[in-house]
């Protein structure tokens, strides 16, 4: 299910004021279509995470409108948020379970998702025995079981070391190429923002507004060459400058 203009996620003049009067977001408008991967950078505390909570319905916006296919949201949080008492397999099955999908089908979907994130062989492990990167993969797999049409990422790899993070970036892009979902990815890293996306949004300090938008007109798959290309460096410079303005 998409909205009238073919976008899967539409923010139209969305504003959000907390009950205590703090204005978190102001007049946010953008849309993400299937096959688009939009990243959002901004100063800390600017309401980036709030943006995803509004998109998913975890929080209610106070003005404007949000349009999204509510039944097929993938949402990866800052932490892997796994149930520690469940094995990898059972963790990945959780969402299908919450949606009352029958046991045989959810086992099948979980297997497939675990395979997609390269965790085959770890089905019986508990999260306790996994590294941080592997936990995030389980978290990804869990979302994949619902075949999301829109995938929200809330700084998912911020706590990981750089090598693991870059590897997971590639992995998410592979999934993106395969599933063609609409991606919305929050990060505080300019490089990650550019590497991952088809479009970068730069937000201002609170109340958060979108103050700049950059197309990233380079195809996928991307690799190290892209990361170290002059185009990448130039774009990084521009985004960085916009971000500096946002603090002003």
């Amino acid at each position: 299910m998409s909205t009238a203009d073919g976008s899967t996620l539409v923010f139209d003049s969305v504003g959000m004021v907390y009950p205590d009067g703090t204005e978190a977001l102001k007049d946010i408008s953008f849309q993400v279509s299937p096959g688009e991967f939009v990243t959002v950078v901004g100063p800390s505390g600017c309401g980036k995470s709030t943006l995803l909570k509004l998109a998913s319905g975890l929080l209610d916006h106070t003005s404007g409108s949000v349009n999204i296919d509510r039944d097929r949201i993938g949402y990866v949080f800052q932490d892997a948020t796994l149930l520690p008492w469940r094995t990898v397999q059972k963790n990945v099955e959780l969402l299908a379970e919450l949606h009352d999908i029958d046991a045989a089908e959810r086992t099948r979907r979980a297997r497939e998702a675990i395979d997609l994130v390269d965790l085959s062989g770890f089905e019986k492990h508990h999260p306790k025995r996994l590294s941080g990167g592997m936990k995030m993969r389980v978290s990804l797999a869990r979302s994949l079981t619902l075949d999301p049409s829109v995938f929200l990422f809330d700084e998912p790899f911020g706590a990981l070391d750089e090598i693991t993070r870059e590897r997971l970036n590639d992995e998410v892009l592979e999934l993106f190429a395969l599933k063609r979902f609409a991606g919305l990815f929050i990060t505080h890293s300019i490089y990650e923002a550019i590497y991952m996306s088809t479009r970068v949004l730069v937000m201002s300090a609170r109340p958060g507004r979108v103050i700049a938008e950059f197309e990233v007109p380079y195809g996928f798959p991307r690799d190290e060459h892209f990361r170290f290309s002059p185009e990448f460096a130039e774009l990084s410079g521009e985004v960085s400058e916009a971000l500096r303005m946002s603090y002003a």
């Binding site: 948020t81 008492w85 469940r86 959780l94 969402l95 919450l98 949606h99 390269d118 990167g133 590897r167």
Partner: protein, 309 residues
């Protein structure tokens, strides 16, 4: 794409959250794997301390107490006094544990206290867990009842015992009540804490997928509460033994538990059996502590970050 540079079995660096004294005890009572030799080696320290204590005991009783008392009385009177104050360990063993009749008396008392603490703990568990569940599900239940839970905990049990005796007599039921009162609170607080311990992010997932209150309870809050609940049980199990013995001791009549026997032996100046009763009550307390520690490890070691594997 697998990050193989990190060994799979390396646990992530989450801080361990077991209270120190429990973790330390665990090392002795539940040695983690290792060969028989390694396990035995862990016992060397505790056994050495035990030996030293027994040694000091003999030393005090034989080398210092006996000569001291012998100064201004007959040798026989001095020996009786020494035996009353600090009988030799081997006399305790032969009088309490090797004398069939005395042993039967002690075991009878022990059995009564075992039943008391077992049933008392079971009742406390049922009331405590249901109470904590109700409090976790509705704030008003917590606001209404929690203060009284604290109240029951803070009332000195010794002050309550005579009242309980007046109201309910001195039978099994009244003693059971003492056990329930003394062991209820840790189960309530720890279970409540456990039910609330699930991370915010996990709750968000259940919210996002519109899980019912029941689903959230069964699939998230209840399993998350198990480690804390088991810690509560472990504390309460020890308290339940104390409750059983305190109940006996202060009721001082009816069927004889270890508490009655302790008073009885004091009155009749039977120090060896007094120490025997003391040993049995301590062993009972130790046994339930170890039992529940084992159960906790059994239930949570495979997944709980704060639990030793």
């Amino acid at each position: 794409m697998t990050d193989t540079q990190r060994p799979v079995d390396a646990p992530s660096s989450t801080p361990r959250q077991v209270p120190d004294e429990i973790a330390a005890t665990s090392a002795v009572f539940y040695p983690a794997g290792g060969t028989l030799m390694q396990k035995l080696r862990l016992l060397v320290g505790p056994l050495a301390v035990f030996g030293a204590v027994i040694g000091v005991w003999y030393l005090l009783s034989w080398r210092y107490l006996a000569p001291l008392l012998g100064r201004d009385g007959g040798a026989e009177a001095a020996e009786r006094l020494r035996n009353t104050l600090l009988p030799y360990p081997h006399d305790i063993v032969s009088e309490s544990f090797l004398n069939g009749e005395n042993l039967a008396e002690l075991l009878g008392g022990l059995w009564l206290d075992v039943k008391l603490s077992f049933f008392g703990l079971a009742i406390a568990a049922i009331i405590g867990i249901s109470g904590a569940v109700a409090m976790s599900q509705a704030k008003w239940v917590e606001r209404s009842f929690y203060p009284y839970a604290v109240f029951v905990q803070t009332v000195p049990i010794l002050a309550l015992v005579p009242l309980i005796g007046l109201f309910f007599g001195f039978g099994f039921g009244a003693r059971l009540l003492v056990v329930v009162i003394i062991s209820l609170f840790p189960i309530i607080t720890n279970t409540l804490f456990g039910l609330r311990s699930a991370e915010r992010g996990l709750h968000d997932i259940f919210t996002l997928h519109e899980a019912s209150r029941w689903t959230r309870f069964v699939k998230l809050q209840l399993p998350a509460s198990i480690p804390a609940m088991m810690t509560g049980f472990q504390i309460s199990a020890g308290l339940s033994v104390i409750g059983a013995i305190v109940g006996d001791f202060f009721f001082g009549r009816g069927e004889r538990g270890l508490g009655n026997l302790i008073q009885f032996y004091v009155n009749r100046l039977q120090p060896e059996q007094l120490w025997g009763a003391l040993t049995f009550s301590t062993l009972l307390g130790l046994f339930v502590f170890v039992l529940f520690g084992w159960l906790r490890t059994r239930l949570t070691a495979s997944w709980y970050e704060g639990s030793e594997t």
